[in-house]
Amino acid sequence: MNQKYMLPLAGVFLLFLLAYAGVEGAGLQWFFGIVIPYLAVIAFIWGFVNRVMGWASSAVPFRIPTTCGQQKSLPWIKQNCIDNPDKASGVFIRMLLEIFLFRSLFRNTKAAFNRDENNRLTYSWEIFLWVGALAFHYGFLVVLIRHLRFFMEPVPASLAFLEYVDGIVQIGLPGIFLSGLVLLAAALFLLARRIFDVKVSYISLAADYFPLFLIIGIAATGIAMRYFTKVDITGVKEFTMGLVTFHPVIPPGVGGLFYAHVLMVSVLFAYFPVSKLMHAGGIFLSPTRNMANNTRAKRHVNPWNYAVDVHTYEQYEDHFRDKMIEAGLPVDKEE
């Protein structure tokens, strides 16, 4: 047993039970359905802005872009404009690829000793973290966008089209949405990686497991409601539309599982700004990616530098001219 994942797991179970029992037992729909979501939205927006403003006010003393290709050099040497950008356009493309394709994760390697008599350390390309991360993030994005159907009336055709594409497999009724399954499978894979890969397990903390368990819980309750236990979807939309129009209503006949889902989503949003999940905002501010490597072409002055009193050569010569002439040293000005 590893307390680093047992504690967050217990926490997520507790959250689930809290909402489920609170609604089914104590009838606290108004609390888990109205108070908590509003608080979560406030905590999310305020915390996110606060965090980014904190980063924005910290100094960036050095030009430290990571360079992964040929720097701009002599005209006959071909520059790698994206991996070693010297212009804003190159930086823009580099950031775009980083944000949408996780390019630096694509280069992920793993180190291991050869299992033979040589026992040499070798590095090999490890692509599965990248695959899992990509599947997870895009699955989550589609799930998030699909949920806008609960917040828009009428639902625009573009959302209906997304649902059509997502539900193209048409298994069962209601039909399967691929994105939900991809999200759950990818989150489980990322969790398995943390638990079973000993090196990753060693560096994993409770703060790494908690969001994973939370998201797995969210996906599991969502999937359970859609495919297994079922929920009155019109009532659910009445509820969500009530929240966003500031006329909250508690629909009859919607049970504890739904409120458990809402509580876990609320906790995820509220937890977001104080956790590692802030990489969503932080990726834009990564100094190793968002700077052009133009330290030779432009002078960047460290904002920390204080004004240094400089003793120039002219001042030096003025100071020692007599002695220099006496010793026979050459001087710029004779007088």
Binding site: V49, R149, E153, K230, V231, H247, G253
Partner: protein
């Protein structure tokens, strides 16, 4: 990154994150009303109870389809003891035989919740045929 660029990005983030709120300014939380036909009102009882039916009708239709197509078994014994003929759109005893107005009964909620059931790729609304 310059501070102005960061603040601009934050403004975009806040506007995007609050999308459901500003998009629905002046909107309403009212769900569409389902209109029961006179026949459905008179019958009083459906296959299942109201909220059960709201949540589970698609599963029932799916089970019915399998039962009818694969086992040619058309009798459905409901939990409330009544017997129904498994049919979506054929005959007086079918779903649409009682809930005569598909527009006011099925489509309102389906459109509201952005659900596009593929029932109507094979079935027709009897009302549409007579028109």
């Amino acid at each position: 990154m310059s501070k102005n660029a960061i603040i601009a990005g934050l403004v975009v983030f806040v506007i995007a994150a609050l999308f459901p709120f500003w998009f629905n300014i002046g909107g309403t939380n009212a769900a569409p009303e389902i209109e029961l036909s006179a026949k459905a009102k008179a019958a009083k009882k459906c296959v299942l109870d109201k909220y059960d039916m709201r949540a589970n009708h698609m599963t029932i239709l799916d089970d019915w389809r399998d039962s009818v197509v694969r086992d040619s078994d058309r009798m459905y014994k409901s939990t409330n003891g009544k017997e129904f003929e498994m049919s979506l759109s054929t005959g007086e005893n079918s779903c649409l035989g009682c809930h005569t107005d598909k527009e006011k009964f099925c489509d309102r909620c389906h459109n509201y919740a952005s659900v596009a059931p593929y029932c109507w790729e094979c079935h027709t609304d009897p009302k549409e045929v007579t028109q």
